[in-house]
């Protein structure tokens, strides 16, 4: 029983770590977007306001895949262990 619970806890932590690899994608994407925005502002400093607001908007949408991974990771850390242990104990008993 202890071994099974240990495996569950370890795998949940491992899964949360693997899920957060998805953070690479939004990082690259947002960095590219911000770089392009800086270039645009450098070329046309007068439209700084609209470029900045459009960039923030785009960054927030590009971030959503990272946020999905984060939600999965948070679920795996805070919700899944107790749920899975409960299932295991129910199956044993």
């Amino acid at each position: 029983m202890e071994l099974a619970i240990g495996i569950i806890l370890g795998c949940c932590a491992l899964g949360a770590g693997i899920a957060m690899i998805a953070g690479i994608g939004p990082g690259i994407g947002e960095g590219y977007a911000v770089g392009q925005a800086c270039e645009a502002i450098g070329r046309q400093p007068e439209c700084k306001g609209s470029v900045t607001s459009t960039m923030l908007m785009g960054c927030a949408i590009a971030e959503s895949t990272g946020i999905y991974a984060l939600v999965i990771a948070i679920l795996l850390i805070f919700v899944a262990p107790s749920f899975l242990v409960g299932v295991l104990q129910g199956a044993v008993a």
Binding site: L56, M57, A60, I61, E63, I67, V71, I74
Partner: protein, 293 residues
């Protein structure tokens, strides 16, 4: 113009109505939260449950907090719009006019003239979301870091989007799923369902990640302080010198900037989805046909 005593009393009552709900929430939280050891990450406290036929209805901290935020916004609106007049514009009226003007400009530039009626709704979503996120500054559990609250808003927006898509007729709406070819139908259905889910997760995830990271950093700083100063005798070893200031910087980003940005993005996406989902040509055609018949 001198204020009458009645007007002053009503003003004071409205200001009290702004502050009291949030204060009541803080008191409730202090009364109900169990004595915790150290720093922990917990969900919303359940105040009490109402028995229901299918499932018990828990009244949680986030629900109560969001009601308090709604009351506060109501009081702010009533306070700002009291004693409006055309001749002598007071500071209060100027602020109210500024807010209305900004909201109308935002809606006009993003949705067009046809959707001007959406300005109050968009302003309401923006204010509710921003104030909900900012309520974490008072030490409350921010309602936006509870998935149920945000999912409620997202479902409301989804119903609105579908309503405006149906304006072009049911046939036109169903035909929209087979664009560009019939093979794409499952993908289109999935992307339709993904709209409220992604809106929910984006807002909820950003606010929740902020609070989780803040708690983790606070715990790490506590550990680091006790490691550095723990060998000093007595009270000297308990000075929390690393915990002063550093969490405030994080809070500046996660609570203020991120909360306001997510509120803006939620409102922006609402506007864009509704305006883009509205089939203008089909609607006009349908109206012409109705007028002829």
């Amino acid at each position: 113009m001198k204020k009458s005593a009645k007007a002053v009393i009503i003003d004071i009552l409205l200001i009290a109505m702004m502050i009291l709900p949030l204060t009541a929430c803080i008191v409730l939280k202090i009364l109900f939260s169990p004595a915790a050891e150290g720093i922990t990450v917990t969900g919303a406290i359940i105040y009490f449950t109402i028995p229901m036929p299918i499932m018990d209805l828990p009244i949680t901290e986030s629900q109560v907090n969001s009601w308090a935020v709604i009351l506060t916004i109501l009081a702010i609106c009533l306070f700002l719009t009291r004693r409006l007049n055309i001749k002598s514009v007071s500071k209060r009226q100027f602020l109210a006019e500024l807010i209305v003007e900004k909201a109308e400009n935002l809606v006009k530039s993003n949705m067009g003239e046809r959707f001007m009626g959406f300005a109050p709704f968009i302003a309401a979503i923006l204010g509710l979301s921003a104030l909900s996120s900012l309520s974490s500054l008072l030490g409350l559990y921010p309602p936006t870091s509870d998935i149920n609250i945000v999912a409620g808003w997202a479902i409301l927006v989804f119903i609105l989007i579908t309503h405006y898509k149906l304006k072009g007729g049911l046939g036109n709406y169903l035909k929209g799923y087979t664009e560009p070819i019939a093979v794409f139908t499952p993908i289109n259905i999935i992307s339709e369902v993904a709209t409220p889910v992604s809106m929910t997760f984006r807002h909820f995830g950003n606010v929740l990640s902020g609070s989780v990271i803040s708690v983790l950093v606070a715990a790490a700083l506590q550990g680091l302080t006790s490691l550095l100063l723990g060998w000093l005798p007595g009270l000297l070893g308990e000075i929390p010198f690393l915990q002063i200031g550093i969490p405030a910087v994080l809070s500046l980003y996660f609570d203020i900037f991120s909360g306001c940005l997510q509120a803006f993005i939620f409102a922006m996406l609402t506007m864009l989805y509704i305006a883009n989902g509205f089939p203008e040509e089909a609607y006009e055609k349908r109206r012409l046909k109705k007028r002829r018949a």
